[in-house]
Structures are given as structure tokens and as C-alpha cells.
């Protein structure tokens, strides 16, 4: 399967955040992250603590894809849920569709059963939003024309001196 760009338009972002907020309310989880399977964060909702969501996304996508490879070695199409249990906090990762996964962080105030139940519902709703989003044009407005030479000068650090 060749992968195309993922585009989150403003309206889609609002709809996704609304689904994630409902999911948090119903499941009792504290944070919800929508993650592309290549490791990029698509949306995040939850408690306002300073989580490194970029790193969490890369690691969760890695763990989930690794679990998927394990499943295929056993003849399964996929393991649809990944669960890590900690002393105070746990992580539940589940499939949204073939491009995205949903990660929930939760503590002792709820159970993995509750998270799993409502994650399924949230995944279905988000899957629909992503499908509709993929049918829209990739680039709009400012992003629809090629970059000029000046605009493409990305420079992170000093080049090596000759």
C-alpha cells in the first residue's frame, strides 16, 4: 500500500477533538492521542500536563507496528489492541484504521475494560472523519503552489567549512 499525505483540515480537527473529548469523559481516561501509524501525532486531547506527545507517538507507533509484525508471524492479520499496565498509569493502544491508531492514558480511576469499550466507539467515529478528510484536496490556499528558492532554504546548522 502506497502511503499518501495525511491532511487535517481545521473542521476535521474540531470534529476529532470533540470525539476524543467525549471518549475521555465516558472512559475515564486522562489523555487521548490520535497517531498516524508512521509515528506522527495527528491530534491530542486531555489533562494539561506537560507530556512529550511527539516522543510518545513515535514510540507507540513503533510498538504497535512491532506487535502487528508479531501477529503476522503467528498467522494473525493484526493484534488490534496493545496494553501496557503500570503501577499508577497504563496505556491502551488500539486500531482506528489502516493508517491511524488511538492511544489512551489512564490511571486507577477507571479500568481497561471501560477504556477498551469506549475506544472502539471513538475509533469508529474517528475513522469516518478521517475517511471524509482523505476525500478532500490535499493542498489548499497558501500551500497549493510550488515553493520559491528562498522559501525552501531550511537550515538547521552551520554547513561544514571547506
Amino acid at each position: 500500500m502506497r502511503l499518501h499525505d495525511v491532511v487535517i483540515h481545521e473542521g476535521d480537527a474540531e470534529k476529532i477533538n470533540a470525539v476524543l473529548t467525549t471518549f475521555l469523559g465516558e472512559s475515564g481516561a486522562t489523555e487521548a492521542l490520535l497517531i498516524d501509524r508512521s509515528g506522527q501525532l495527528l491530534a491530542a486531547t486531555g489533562a494539561n500536563r506537560a507530556l512529550d506527545t511527539v516522543s510518545i507517538s513515535a514510540l507507540a507507533a513503533g510498538a504497535f507496528s512491532s506487535t502487528g509484525a508479531l501477529a503476522r508471524l503467528l498467522g494473525e492479520e493484526e493484534f488490534t489492541v496493545l496494553f501496557h499496565q503500570g503501577n499508577k498509569e497504563s496505556i491502551h493502544v488500539s486500531t482506528v484504521d489502516d493508517q491511524a491508531i488511538l492511544l489512551a492514558i489512564f490511571g486507577g480511576q477507571t479500568t481497561v475494560g471501560m477504556v477498551r469499550l469506549f475506544a472502539k466507539e471513538a475509533a469508529t467515529a474517528i475513522g469516518q472523519i478521517l475517511t471524509e478528510s482523505r476525500a478532500k484536496p490535499r493542498s489548499m490556499g497558501d500551500l497549493s503552489t510550488p515553493l520559491t528558492v528562498d522559501e525552501s532554504r531550511t537550515t538547521f546548522g552551520e554547513p561544514t567549512k571547506p
Partner: protein, 205 residues
Amino acid sequence: MAVINYAQKVINFKVVYYGPGLAGKTANLQHIHNSLPDGSKGKLISLAAGDDRTLFFDFLPVSALTVRGFTAKFQLYTVPGQLYYNMTRKLVLRGADGMVFVADSQWDRLRENVESFRNLEENLREYKTSLDDMPYVIQYNKRDLSNIAPLEYMEFLLNRRARRVPSFEATAVNGDGVFDTLNTVSRMVLVGEFSQEKGEHCETA
């Protein structure tokens, strides 16, 4: 595949450093991490085995410039170079927007470079893509050592596709050539993303 977020005004790209084991892929990311100011880098995460060799991947998010109101962010990954880790290499390749092939310049490592390059082409085929469609550069690393092949010979071995790509001599452990490589590949990824050709190919996400 880039992730374009109109709500957050961010475009995220994934760049993968590929190459044989011990070629210096992790050393590239370590130098970038040590050199950039805090505001434009995230944490460097290394999933390494006990002997410090990459087991799954290294990961470093960095931010570049603002393009038309959007912040361009690049997520840098390395793959494990050892041959028998091919399954994990394939997983890391998923969704890559650009590649850096890090070659080991030592004479006795030339065969491993060629095998790794072929392995990259095979793995990309599984994602129904190829180096013809992917911005990439080649870095000839370890140029400070004495037992190295001439640059022309390295080019003959590794940069011989119909489309010749930019290549750089480097000594990643002390930083030489690291940012030349990163600046070039990131620019190629960015220009490719906005090109008319890609726009037509990827009309829908």
C-alpha cells in the same frame, strides 16, 4: 507521507537515516541533537541493545523554518543496520518522506554498503514506492580514517542510478558533513512536497 495540520499550522515530515551497521547513522542524530538549540529540537530517543547498537530505531524531532505560516517539522529516524533486523527496518521505513543513506567509507565495508542499498530498494518496493519517487542524499562517512575508498569509487558503487543525487563526505562523530546532509535532504523534501507533480499524485490524502 507528510502530515499537514491546517488547525495547528504545522507540516510534519519523516526522514530516515539508512545504511549498514556501524556506518554512523546514530552518530549523525547525536551530533544534530548536541548542536541544535533547545527550542528547535525534541528529545533524542535511542532504542539500543546492551552494546549500544540500534535495536529498533533512534528518533529525534527537529523544527526548521516557517513556510507560508506553517512550521516545518522533521522527524529524524535511524534504522538498525545489521542484516538480521530487516523486519524492524521495514517498520521504521513506513511513511518516510526522505532518506539519507549513510555509507561506511572503509574498504572492508564496501560490500555491506551495497547490500544495504539493495535492501533499501527492496524494502521500499514493499511499500509500493522507490528511490525514484523519494528525495534522498548519500553520505560517505568516516572520511577521517586511513583505510577508505576514494570518493569516485564510492560514487560508482552507490550513486549510479539514472538520477544522481547529492552526496557528502562526512565524519559524523565530530560533526563534519552532518548539517550539509540534513540541510540538503530537508530542502529536497520540502520542495518535493510543494511541487506540482506531487500535488497531482496526491490529490486526496
